[in-house]
Symmetry: C2
Subunit: 309 residues, 2 copies
């Protein structure tokens, strides 16, 4: 007799990673959403409960990121099947840590485990994208892919996404700091210019290429030199009180790079293990100057991604 | 007694490589310039001869790419030293194959061999950039770096350039076709918009990141999927009669990618060894339809870069 119920953990994630707007992300395994899927007699997707750090999300499956993602899964893999979802939110809303992506990923991983013919991870990615679109209004994958696959992930293409896990040099850890304030992704996207100056385009592409080459070759100097967002960060930083001094403090403590996590307001840095705690403390102290409480973590970037628990 | 004279060969190169405008290039070792440097009693740089496929270049050292590059070398490494240059051009003018860069690189490599305290390759890169600026009006390095270092090269930064040689998967060769027509780099740069749409920016950066990741991991599928210029090529292709059908013909023969070499009019493709000759023939036949004569080559991308001969 096959299982009637399955629970999946899907981690938070940092999107953009300074140099890869909409294409790069890494998993933040210390935080995540837990979604329990249970087979129902009635076909379709229902949301039975939403609990945890967020509880006022839509219960209409078509308007809920996890619900819509599992609808897309059933449409593709098991028409007529019925799934009820209980969503446990561990990622604060509007934190810039990929909460909507994690719910979508957790939903499809849990539900997939109950299907007679489960889909591949790459197909689950496509289903989860439909869930993410409910929250962000657009199909993008820079949070979904790392939440699903774990680690530092490049995603190329939307219609036929390709996922590439990029190695992170040994000894490099990520600092993630969440200031307890809300910033709507739509607002953070709304401030962005619709175009990029050619000179900034060349600079940012050089940084992206240098960063990725540095990751493949353990070249920390090149990562440090390249790890700068010259396009998006300066348009968004005014939405985050304390960002500029926090970034400066992180770099002064030896961070390899520091920027906004996704649409913000969370910020992240990469640092060698020996500096990581000082970098975290430096960032948090600058938010304290602004009177903003924070949660901060030092994490391993390599992690397994979403999984059944 | 130290040498009084040295000759260097500096290869042609393909700049941009579709996805890395102004930052990526690869050497084309089958073509190049030869520069002979000879110590003179009088200080400074003189140009004694210019021969080969181009002979109407400036003989005033400050206005000549090789002359200006060697001036920069002497200013830095040997003030008061005198060098005479004999330049043998093997790369057609206005071909988009990095001829001005090759002369600059050949000049500094030859002259450097005569100095009591020779500079490093990275310092030679900076000197050669000053020469390239005479021809193109701007400091850029996507032809200089591959001509100097060989192979597929990423250059990050202008003031403090960093050079990264990127591995090319085994079995991949480059096709280079030069249509016998002249296209001024300044004209080809003049058609470019000063800004990039955000959606194209994301697409192009995804292609760049995918291409580089594919090179590091021998992932030919990812290279093929990513190997497309969605920004520069469509602005420049109307300057090159026959480009669009030539590109289509190359892709139909199995090329991994095909685009304009630098500012054009030369075009290049990457292909597996088994397809490379057919790709070259397909491109050349489309130029023939336009009544344009061509020179075409199939080359190994890995090569040693500029060297003394």
């Amino acid at each position: 007799m096959s299982a009637q119920s399955a629970t999946a953990f899907a981690p938070a994630s940092v999107g953009n990673v300074a140099v890869g707007f909409d294409i790069l992300g890494f998993a933040v395994d210390v935080l995540g959403d837990r979604v329990t899927a249970t087979i129902t007699d009635a076909p379709g997707v229902t949301i039975t409960s939403i609990s945890g750090v967020v509880d006022d999300l839509p219960k209409d499956a078509a308007l809920n990121t996890a619900g819509r993602a599992v609808q897309a899964l059933l449409e593709r893999a098991a028409p007529g099947f019925g799934i009820a979802l209980a969503i446990g939110k561990g990622i604060p809303l509007g934190s810039g840590l990929g909460g909507s992506a994690a719910s979508a990923v957790g939903g499809v991983v849990a539900a997939n485990a109950l299907l007679p013919s489960p889909l591949s991870k790459l197909d689950l990615l496509k289903c989860a994208m439909h869930g993410e679109a409910v929250a962000s209004g657009a199909l993008h994958v820079d949070n979904i892919a790392p939440s699903l696959f774990g680690g530092l992930v490049l995603t190329v293409g939307i219609d036929h996404p390709r996922v590439k896990q990029i190695p992170v040099p040994a000894g490099v850890r990520a600092v993630v700091v969440h200031p307890r304030m809300f910033l709507a992704t739509r607002e953070a996207r709304g401030v962005l210019s619709r175009s990029v100056e050619m000179s900034d385009f060349v600079w940012q592409t050089a940084n992206l290429a240098g960063f990725i080459s540095g990751c493949y070759t353990d070249d920390l100097d090149l990562i440090r030199e390249s790890f700068e967002d010259v396009i998006i960060e300066r348009q968004r930083q005014s939405l985050i009180p304390g960002f500029a001094p926090a970034r400066a403090a992180a770099m002064a403590e030896g961070a390899l790079g520091c920027s906004i996590s996704g649409a913000g307001p969370s910020i992240f840095a990469w640092a060698l293990d020996a500096q990581a705690d000082a970098v975290r403390a430096a960032i948090e102290s600058q938010f304290a100057v602004e009177g903003i409480e924070t949660d901060g973590w030092v994490i391993d970037i390599d992690s397994p991604g979403a999984r059944l628990v």
